[in-house]
């Protein structure tokens, strides 16, 4: 299996699973505008998934389409980070999860616009424009809720405390990345983490929120080892294709 295929699937699955999580808010948003916002962002993610997994299928060269990859793999073949599969809980948790992810995705796409792989650079260029809107949206909510009422402050602080343990994995790198790094397809995750931390500190500061003091971090998603949540997500995501193989509408 090629390193580029694996990398594209990692990125594609982040978007796929986060897009699915956000779409669960459809019809349940706290206000109509946020219902629409979250589903719009979900749609952008599903669109980015299409670009990434379509290209992954081409790189793999076994004739798998983006739909085959999205709907017909088994749980251990999904490579998304654990952060994006965590439950929506309340709106504050969803926005905190989104912010921690957007703050990583934006500098990542900025890096990838310079990738030596032309198609990956094109996907990054396209997706970056959307991601700027996502980050602005989630950062503004983290600030509004953190610096809001006692209750909203406490809830997003708890969300931050619970989600923080999934943030190191955003910068996970392994043997798969070595060749890609050497060829200028991808770039240093240390640089990425620096940009991310800067953004996170600026926003959390404004939001009067505190980074939790525990060093314990979880990982596994990039290797296909997921939390219990993913099984439930896939049961819903894959239902139609499993029940009626090859169906279209």
């Amino acid at each position: 299996m090629s390193a580029l295929f694996e990398y594209l699937v990692r990125l594609g699955d982040d978007s796929l699973i986060l897009g699915h999580r956000l779409s669960e808010w459809c019809g349940h948003g706290p206000i109509l505008e946020e219902d629409i916002a979250m589903t719009n962002i979900a749609l952008d993610h599903v669109g980015q998934t299409t670009s990434l997994l379509k290209y992954a299928g081409e790189v793999e060269g076994k004739g798998r389409t983006e739909d085959d990859l999205a709907f017909l793999r088994f749980e251990r073949e999904y490579r998304n980070v654990l952060l994006v599969e965590q439950a929506n809980e309340d709106f504050g948790v969803t926005m905190m999860r989104q912010f921690l992810f957007d703050a990583y995705r934006k500098p990542l796409y900025e890096q990838l616009t310079k990738s030596s792989d032309v198609q990956l650079a094109a996907i990054a260029e396209k997706s970056l424009k959307e991601t700027k809107y996502h980050l602005k949206h989630s950062a503004e909510w983290v600030i509004r809720l953190g610096d809001g009422t006692d209750e909203s402050h406490e809830r997003v602080q708890t969300a931050l405390n619970n989600l923080w343990r999934y943030t190191d994995e955003l910068f996970y790198t392994d043997q798969n990345d070595v060749e890609l790094l050497a060829n200028g397809v991808i770039f240093s995750s240390e640089e990425l983490k620096k940009s991310w931390m800067e953004m996170v500190k600026t926003v959390l500061d404004r939001a009067t929120l505190t980074i939790p003091n525990n060093g314990w971090q979880r990982e596994g998603g990039r290797k296909g080892l997921h939390s219990e949540h993913l099984g439930y997500i896939l049961a819903e995501l894959q239902y139609m294709q499993r029940a009626y193989p090859g169906m279209e509408w």
């Binding site: 505008e33 962002i41 669109g47 299409t50 260029e125 396209k126 424009k129 700027k132 809107y133 949206h137």
Partner: protein, 161 residues
């Protein structure tokens, strides 16, 4: 004899299914028309990654050309250079406003997190006293605004750069 110019003309009759006053030429979604060994290659680019209108636009292009006896057609979707609202034509901007959608105004980069919202004039009364209700509107490409003078709620075709 079918010419490239003729095909551009026909493309002026293919509309965006979500903003039906705009053609794909007005929108800047149509990037290129070329002929390779008797096949017409029509190159388009999506406004947003997940834009559900793209498939429909592809089908509409093929249908429009078929109506005029042109059957050897391939529609290609490219991502780079990425679509920007700068490609919206002048007639396109005018048509948007007449339709009740505020055309994009020059905005500073979204990466500037704490910047003020852009001033978007009301498409009905031209008042600059308007307020953003939500950055996300009825479709991916629009934000939701309200005029503080005439009270009109309206869509703003948001800037994408």
């Amino acid at each position: 004899m079918v010419t490239k110019e003729r095909i551009w003309e026909l493309m002026e009759e293919v509309f965006d299914p979500e903003v039906p006053v705009l053609t794909i030429v007005d929108l800047g979604v149509l990037r290129e028309i070329s002929e390779v060994d008797g096949t017409w290659m029509i190159t388009i680019t999506p406004t947003y990654s997940g834009c559900p209108a793209m498939k429909r636009i592809e089908d509409d292009i093929i249908e429009k050309l078929a109506e005029h006896g042109i059957h050897d057609v391939k529609v290609e979707n490219v991502l780079s250079p990425a679509w920007t609202t700068d490609w919206l034509s002048e007639p396109g901007r005018r048509k948007l406003k007449e339709y009740g959608i505020a055309p994009p105004v020059d905005e500073i980069d979204k990466s500037v997190l704490f910047a003020d919202q852009p001033i978007v004039p009301c498409p009905k009364c031209d008042s600059k006293n308007t307020k953003m209700i939500s950055q996300f509107g009825s479709t991916a490409c629009k934000a939701h605004y309200q005029c503080q003078d005439c009270q009109e709620p309206f869509d703003y075709f948001k800037c994408l750069k």
